[in-house]
């Protein structure tokens, strides 16, 4: 079994190099499966091809920065999103949901870190990170 050439390029028509395109690829799996390594390589490969990629580290123990090629020394200085960015808005059925108070673009410009190959890294949090509650 190899990366199959029969696999259709499902989303290629949606992508135009150099243009902002809302295409969201999430990578999941069991802990230790290699998803962070794969996510980092995918992000940089797409960055080379399409000119700009947002890489979001949604893990509570964030390591994506290393796979993206940022220096170990920078890790503890990475800006982490604040909970204050969220507000609760009502949803149908009387429930509420969390929403960003500012646009994602503003979040990226305030908290995004430049990584190699046109990748911008956004670190959402680090559980146990003192003072970030």
């Amino acid at each position: 079994m190899r990366a199959s050439s029969r696999f259709p390029s499902l989303l290629s028509p949606a992508i135009k190099p150099g243009k902002a395109t809302a295409l969201i690829i999430a990578i999941g799996g069991k802990g230790g499966s290699g998803k962070t390594t794969i996510a980092g390589i995918i992000a940089r490969t797409l960055g080379r091809k399409h000119g700009r990629v947002l890489a979001v580290d949604g893990d509570s123990n964030p390591n994506l920065a290393l796979t993206l090629g940022l220096p170990v020394a920078d890790l503890m200085q990475l800006p982490v999103l604040s909970r204050d960015l969220l507000e609760q808005v009502p949803e149908e059925g009387g429930k509420t949901r969390s929403k960003l108070k500012i646009s994602t673009q503003e979040v990226v410009s305030q908290f995004g870190v430049t990584a190699p190959d046109n990748v911008i890294l956004l670190v959402l949090g680090r559980v146990g990170h003192a003072g970030s509650g």
Binding site: I27, G28, K35, T37, I41, V56, G58, L64
Partner: protein
Amino acid sequence: MCRSHATVRELLGAVVAESCELTVVDLEAGLENFSRGTPRHADMLLIVLEPYYKSLETGRRVAELARELGTKHILGVANKVRSQADANAIQQFATPHGIQIAGSIPHDEAILDADRAGASPLDMNPHSPAVEAVQRMTEVLA
């Protein structure tokens, strides 16, 4: 005060819901992210599958939840594949569960070397088999 896992998930859901550019999300391990709607907003979910039961079973449950939540494309990535038997095991598990395999990534010492060095395998060993396999797969995806 420590940040909770729930906060990370809430932020993730909110960021992903409103992102209007090409975005790659490294999810939290396992199923936890799925309670906050992230998969609803993802166009594609890649589930990393290793050739052993616990990994495959976790992957199956992740796929099932994502399907219920409406993720458009749910695909598997066979990882740490050492042999044809490994590749077959993943394929034989994935197919009946409706998970199409987007790519097969070989087991590769270069990945472990990069992990030990705290570096990116793309910088340390850009032509290693695993790196090239992920790049080939990405080329087909987007």
